[in-house]
Amino acid sequence: MKKVFTRPKSLKDMPFHYCPGCTHGIVHRLVAEVIDEMGIFDRTIAVAPVGCSVFCYDYFDCDAYQASHGRAPAVATGIKRVLPDRVVFTYQGDGDLAAIGTGEIVHAAARGEKFTVIFINNAIYAMTGGQMAPTTLLGQVTTTTPYGRNREINGCPVRMSEMLAVLDGSAYIARVSVHDPANVARAKRAVRKAFEVQMAGLGFTMVEVLSSCPTNWGLSPLKALKWLEENMIPYYPLGEYKVSGDTTPLFRHDSGADGGLSKNDPAEVG
């Protein structure tokens, strides 16, 4: 018997504290698998945010930092500038990255800092109790938009990948989702490519992952995946927004309502 699927080595063997059906866990696993497969565990450094994924510094078994809210890109900059031959990644939520940490992410991208950002967009501040995030959809009810997010008051949701792709220093930017097996496979390839581009020294790399928060969305885990597919993807089209250097695009970016990706590759193993 051969193991066709087993827990990646880069993840410490301990349970996640995440809620049932929370896709943070899937993304952790993808990142760990990429680290394992690339054989870079020993020289990888993780930077955890403040958010539901704060304890990811424990889950990833590599050396790690817990950064202050939103500042993971600055912390990663400090690390990578001191240790340029290491592989550094941050793992950040949408409150962390798209709100309080806007300045840090924009300038890390502008400077072309050579680390990888795993950006979990779940359209909510999950850890603190389901407040509106910059990425919360119009009309979405949260604890701080009890009447639904209103464009007049709160403006429109921010598309970070599109915005950061405008900057010259960004080398790889993709938006993926983990709501079904095909997309999980694609997400993993994007993560791998981001790490590769980082290691090639081409610049700033980021993978935005549309992710579910059943608890704060008030939905069952399965309904949450469906909601993600039906509501988030149309507003946040999947695809690669920036592909630098001699790398070729993994998949086409197309802003069609289906996210432009679902027709592509079938689920892929590994």
């Binding site: 018997m1 051969k2 193991k3 066709v4 699927f5 087993t6 827990r7 993840l11 349970p15 996640f16 995440y18 809620c19 049932p20 059906g21 929370c22 896709t23 943070h24 866990g25 899937i26 696993r29 079904d180 097996p181 999980v184 496979a185 059943p214 069952s220 885990p221 399965l222 995946l225 689920a267 193993v269």
Partner: protein, 73 residues
């Protein structure tokens, strides 16, 4: 026949594996585990193809999948 094993004590009963199993052979157990969830389990291992879709969708890495090694050639 592939083998699919669940670390039952880590299952949070989210039903994601059940939903995505192409063979529809995962069900939630009647009992609850230490965390208070009804854990997932394969009810008809015969039909399992070892595709590992369940494992790849499980947010809590509860599932391990083994398969006979293919003979080369």
């Amino acid at each position: 026949m592939p083998r699919v094993t669940f670390r039952e004590e880590r299952c949070k009963g989210c039903e994601i594996c059940k939903h995505f199993c192409p063979k529809g052979i995962i069900e939630m157990a009647g009992h609850i585990n230490v965390m208070g969830f009804h854990p997932a389990t394969v009810v008809d291992m015969e039909k399992c193809t070892g595709c590992a879709t369940c494992a790849r969708m499980c947010p809590d890495i509860v599932i391990e999948v083994e398969k006979e090694e293919k003979k080369v050639g």
